[in-house]
């Protein structure tokens, strides 16, 4: 906060397109949040539990996974494991973001909360560090606010209706598929998706609920280790 370039605001001409994209993402987050709220209360979670997930966990895929495993009758710990495993990718987003955001002290605690798919995607790839920081904060703050508003609205509406009657049992799988879709353009990712789905489906009748999705993480580990150029013992 002492260095001048840390405080520098990008020019208005560069800020405008970032703000427009951030507003679009925040609107989608409101809709996605509303679907999460409806799915969550439809899964048997209370309004308070639904809001704690959105406020504290604040990571869409992990939240849907938690509600999904609970809905399927899995134990809360299987649900927690699935949510945590899906949350692991957020740690990797910190790698490119840390040198740009340069968080320190208590600021790090607030910054960390906003490290998610959307803020990372919006930030990395911008031409200047100032614009990268601006994109991170503009996206993170607007998305976080509308995510909470969306969740609350969806949970309140969802409680008033039978989720299945409104097709909301298709909401979570459709939302995940839409999130997955861009990654499926890469053949290696497509194979990992197919293998993960196949392993999980095969385990449904034999494994405790929640385990099939966790087993797919094993597919990711195998795919990641196999895809490497070398297999030496690393020091």
């Amino acid at each position: 906060m002492s260095a001048t370039d840390e405080r520098e605001r990008p020019p208005a001409a560069e800020r405008a397109p970032v703000l427009r994209a951030a507003a679009g993402i925040a609107l989608y987050a409101a809709a996605f949040g509303a679907s999460f709220g409806a799915v969550s209360v439809g899964s048997g979670l209370s309004l308070a539990q639904t809001m704690v997930l959105s406020l504290v966990m604040f990571s869409g895929a992990s939240q849907f996974a938690f509600a999904g495993v609970v809905a399927a009758g899995g134990s809360p710990f299987a649900a927690a494991a699935a949510a945590l495993l899906l949350g692991v990718r957020n740690a990797f987003y910190g790698v490119p973001l840390a040198p740009v955001l340069r968080p320190h002290g208590l600021g790090r605690l607030g910054t960390a909360h906003l490290v998610i798919d959307e803020t990372t995607a919006m930030s990395v790839g911008r031409p200047t560090p100032a614009l990268q920081r601006y994109a991170f904060w503009a996206t993170g703050l607007s998305l976080c606010l509308l995510w909470q508003v969306g969740t609350l609205t969806g949970a309140l509406v969802g409680r008033a209706v039978d989720p299945a009657a409104f097709g909301l049992d298709a909401a979570a799988p459709a939302a995940f598929l839409a999130l997955l879709w861009p990654r499926l353009a890469q053949p290696a990712q497509r194979w990992a998706a197919l293998a993960g789905a196949a392993v999980a489906v095969a385990l449904v009748p034999v494994a405790p609920q929640g385990v099939p999705v966790l087993a797919a993480a094993g597919v990711a580990v195998l795919a990641g280790l196999r895809s490497g150029p070398a297999h030496q013992e690393a020091g």
Binding site: S62, A91, G228
Partner: protein, 103 residues
């Protein structure tokens, strides 16, 4: 505190701490090539598994609802037409809801 609350709070705080760790850990660890390769496959494999399980799981047995599958098929068409998240999502929900209303 119910077990559900305990699991929920552990998961929520854990997810936050994972984010904090990413910003705090030495880059050397997370930049390890093997760690990065596994991380690249984690979301896609797990999310695909979640979608598949949600479509077939009837509580440790297979249970398919053709109306949900039809809704998902419509969502795939919307994705192939390069529609945005909201359109894809609403397509699946509306198709499933209408089919359920009619049948």
């Amino acid at each position: 505190m119910s077990t559900l609350w305990v699991g929920l709070v552990v998961a929520a705080l854990g997810c936050y701490l994972i984010k904090l760790a990413g910003l705090s850990l030495p880059g050397r660890v997370l930049q390890h090539p093997r760690v990065q390769r596994v991380a690249a496959f984690l979301p896609v494999a797990m999310l695909a598994a979640l979608v598949a399980v949600q479509l077939v799981d009837g509580g440790q047995r297979y249970a398919l609802d053709w109306r949900v599958l039809a809704g998902m098929a419509a969502a795939v068409v919307a994705l192939l037409l390069r529609r945005g998240f909201l359109v894809v999502f609403l397509t699946a929900v509306v198709v499933t809801a209408v089919l359920r209303l009619l049948t």
